[in-house]
């Protein structure tokens, strides 16, 4: 994946670059908003990681300008301001996701991959499939190896989100935001309980486990051993 990182803090930028390159991505760096805008206009990147506070041109303004020019490259906004309303501002400006600093690199990586996937997704998919696990988005039904799996509505939503991002890591915060619409982290790790219930329905009776826990990061649904 080719990623554009617009970040003025040189140390943070090189740390990001190093991490992303280690994951097999190609990284372009820009240290200010104007350069970032120039590079983004080439439209050769799969995802843009945009710091919010930038010298010269504010990160939000860069995103607004890009969207005004019909450039739809997915943007992940990074910000030291972490409150819900800042997030709303960032998304309203045309950002696709928002991550508050400081963040875990695994969280950033998971979100970047989700963004690329969203870009690639065919809009009219009605069925998702991972190995022999299949869900029907219209009928809201799930089957594994042809057997019906009975899911609560929220369990279905959880499974749907995991399957839309099949093969990628999905963090607990991402699940709270996208499945439950909570933009804060509860003290208790509530997600794990729901995952283990889902796992009991999806994996337990069947041979090969599909729903994997990725240590220190989150969860991933995929075929094959982890």
């Amino acid at each position: 994946m080719k990623i554009l990182v617009v970040e003025d803090d040189r140390e943070a930028a090189s740390w990001l670059e190093k991490g992303l390159v280690e994951e097999g991505h190609v990284v372009d760096l820009a240290a200010n908003g104007t350069d970032g805008l120039e590079l983004a206009r080439e439209q050769t990147h799969d995802v843009i990681i945009m710091d919010r506070m930038l010298p010269g041109m504010d990160g939000l303004d860069v995103v607004k300008t890009l969207r005004g020019e019909d450039i739809t490259t997915p943007v992940l906004i990074l910000s030291a301001l972490g409150e819900v309303d800042d997030k709303v501002l960032g998304l309203r400006a045309g950002g696709d996701d928002y991550l508050a600093k400081p963040y875990a690199f695994t969280e950033l990586l998971a979100r970047v991959e989700t963004l690329r996937r969203r870009q690639d997704a065919t809009p009219h998919t009605t069925k998702l499939k991972v190995a022999d696990l299949e869900i029907d988005l219209l009928a809201r039904t799930a089957t594994r190896a042809g057997e019906d799996i009975l899911l609560q509505p929220r369990e279905f939503k959880l499974l749907e989100y995991l399957m839309r991002n099949a093969g990628s890591v999905v963090t607990r915060t991402m699940l709270l935001e996208n499945v439950w619409n909570y933009h804060f982290d509860p003290q208790t790790n509530v997600i794990d309980v729901h995952i283990s219930r889902l796992r009991a329905k999806v994996d337990k009776e069947f041979g090969e486990p599909l729903l994997h826990t990725v240590r220190g990061a989150g969860y991933s649904i995929r075929a094959g051993r982890s």
């Binding site: 409150e83 400081p102 875990a104 804060f184 509860p186 003290q187 729901h194």
Partner: protein, 461 residues
């Protein structure tokens, strides 16, 4: 001199001046109208009467001749009704009438004249003014018929002077009153200014003076005082937070530092990795604490009210029961909701949900039944205070001693002395500030046995 100028520049004085001018102009106009209607009209009426009488007498003269006229004049002169008459021959000799001589003003053929004549009072002769009409008749006779208007003139003079006095007095009282009012106003504004300067100079305990009359300046002072109290509360809160932060953040920072130093001394790669992982976990814990503090500070600053929407508490709790139910069940307990169909309040959904998760977290951690060891949590939504709603979270655990119920709402307060459960001691502080933000209340009560946390939301009005 400058004080006087300051007084004249006050808005009260300017307002008083404008009012006074408008008032004086309208009073003057009314008085002028009344004066014109009475004095001037009456005078012209007299003129008309007199002229008519003269015409009548001239008619009599044409019919009955000089002798007839003479008789009429003689007869009318006898009546003491304030009418004056004189009839003279061609050379001006008086033939009849109650005037001694022809007034010198009577020159020409005919006309209206004002003249003075001696009037017999009890104490001698005085000059009275008469308004008269004169006419030269055929044969050179001159006839003057008039009315004594002295009293009327006197009356008019009195009216005029009293009008001027009244107007003058109004102006003096108006200006004086305006000055007094302005001075009073200025004094109170100066007091408020003085108090503000004292506060700016650092005397934060100073408050605006309140006179106790409950007038608009008092109300202004009271609002300002409320504002100052709120600022004071926030500042005290901030101070408290900074000292608590210093205390509560120092412990994990010390641990992190010691761990890093220890890892530096050791040469095992395994040990380095473990220390780094432990430090990341510790840093995450610190960040959580930090974010919780920020949320509380934000809620207390009250800026988030802009994000308020009509939110259904029941829908919000349904979601939370669904999120937390499995956790209570996994711990062998239950989580049940007893609520009407809907309960709509003005709220920030995220903040209320966050407050509720804090209460649920606490209930699961600390609210376990002494006998069964499992959390049995009941959520209840009920109407209170007319159109408000109250959410209750009850458990059957050990509860909180009455003396500690206020204290636990503070920041970094943890009753769990052993600190065996992870937590920052900020959960209930956030609940408290969220409820204050919603103009509601957070109350902790005894559930007999257990604990009931009540979140009171005001009505939407």
């Amino acid at each position: 001199m400058r004080a006087a100028l300051k007084l004249l520049r006050t808005s009260t004085f300017r307002l008083a001046t404008v009012y006074l001018t408008v008032f004086a102009i309208s009073v003057g106009a009314i008085l002028a109208y009344i004066y014109w209607n009475t004095a001037i009209l009456l005078e012209s009426q007299i003129e008309d009467t007199v002229e008519a009488e003269v015409q009548g007498l001239a008619e009599q003269y044409r019919i009955r001749g000089p002798r007839g006229l003479l008789e009429i004049i003689k007869a009318r002169s006898q009546e003491a009704d304030g009418a004056v008459y004189i009839l003279t021959n061609a050379v001006g000799r008086r033939l009849a009438g109650n005037l001694q001589s022809l007034p010198v003003e009577a020159v020409g053929e005919r006309g209206t004249i004002d003249f003075k004549f001696p009037y017999e009072t009890g104490r001698g002769l005085v000059d009275h003014t008469a308004r008269a009409f004169f006419i030269r008749l055929d044969g050179g006779f001159q006839l003057v018929v008039g009315r004594d208007v002295e009293e009327r003139r006197q009356f008019n003079r009195i009216i005029r002077t009293s009008l001027f006095w009244a107007l003058g007095l109004t102006l003096v009282l108006g200006v004086g009153g305006g000055l007094l009012m302005s001075r009073n106003f200025l004094r109170r504004v100066d007091e408020i200014n003085g108090a503000s300067r004292a506060i700016m100079a650092g005397d934060l305990g100073e408050r605006m003076p309140v006179s106790g009359t409950g007038d608009e300046i008092d109300r202004l002072s009271e609002s300002l005082n409320d504002m100052l109290d709120q600022i004071n509360r926030l500042m005290t809160g901030m101070k408290e937070v900074s000292s608590n932060v210093a205390h509560d953040l120092r412990t994990p920072l010390t641990r992190m530092r010691a761990r890093a130093e220890d890892a530096l001394r050791s040469s095992s790669a395994e040990g380095h990795k473990a220390a780094l992982e432990a430090n990341i976990a510790e840093a995450d814990g610190l960040l959580t604490t930090f974010n919780a503090l920020l949320s509380i500070a934000r809620a207390e600053a009250g800026q988030m009210r802009e994000g308020f929407q009509d939110a259904d508490l029941v829908a919000l709790l349904d979601d939370l029961v669904e999120l937390y139910g499995p956790i209570a069940e996994d711990a062998g307990g239950t989580l049940v909701l007893d609520a009407p169909k809907t309960a709509v309040v003005r709220a920030d959904r995220q903040l209320v949900a966050q407050a509720m998760t804090n209460l649920l977290d606490n209930a699961i951690k600390y609210g376990r039944d002494a006998k069964t060891g499992a959390p049995d949590i009941r959520l209840k939504v009920a109407r209170t205070n007319g159109d408000g709603w109250t959410v209750q979270v009850s458990d059957t655990g050990p509860g909180i001693a009455a003396t500690d119920r206020e204290r636990v709402k503070g920041r970094f307060v943890r009753l769990d002395k052993s600190r065996s459960e992870p937590g920052s001691g900020l959960g209930l502080a956030l609940v408290d500030s969220v409820m204050k933000l919603h103009a509601g209340a957070f109350e902790i009560e005894d559930a007999n046995p257990g604990l009931t946390a009540k979140l009171r939301f005001p009505g939407r009005a």
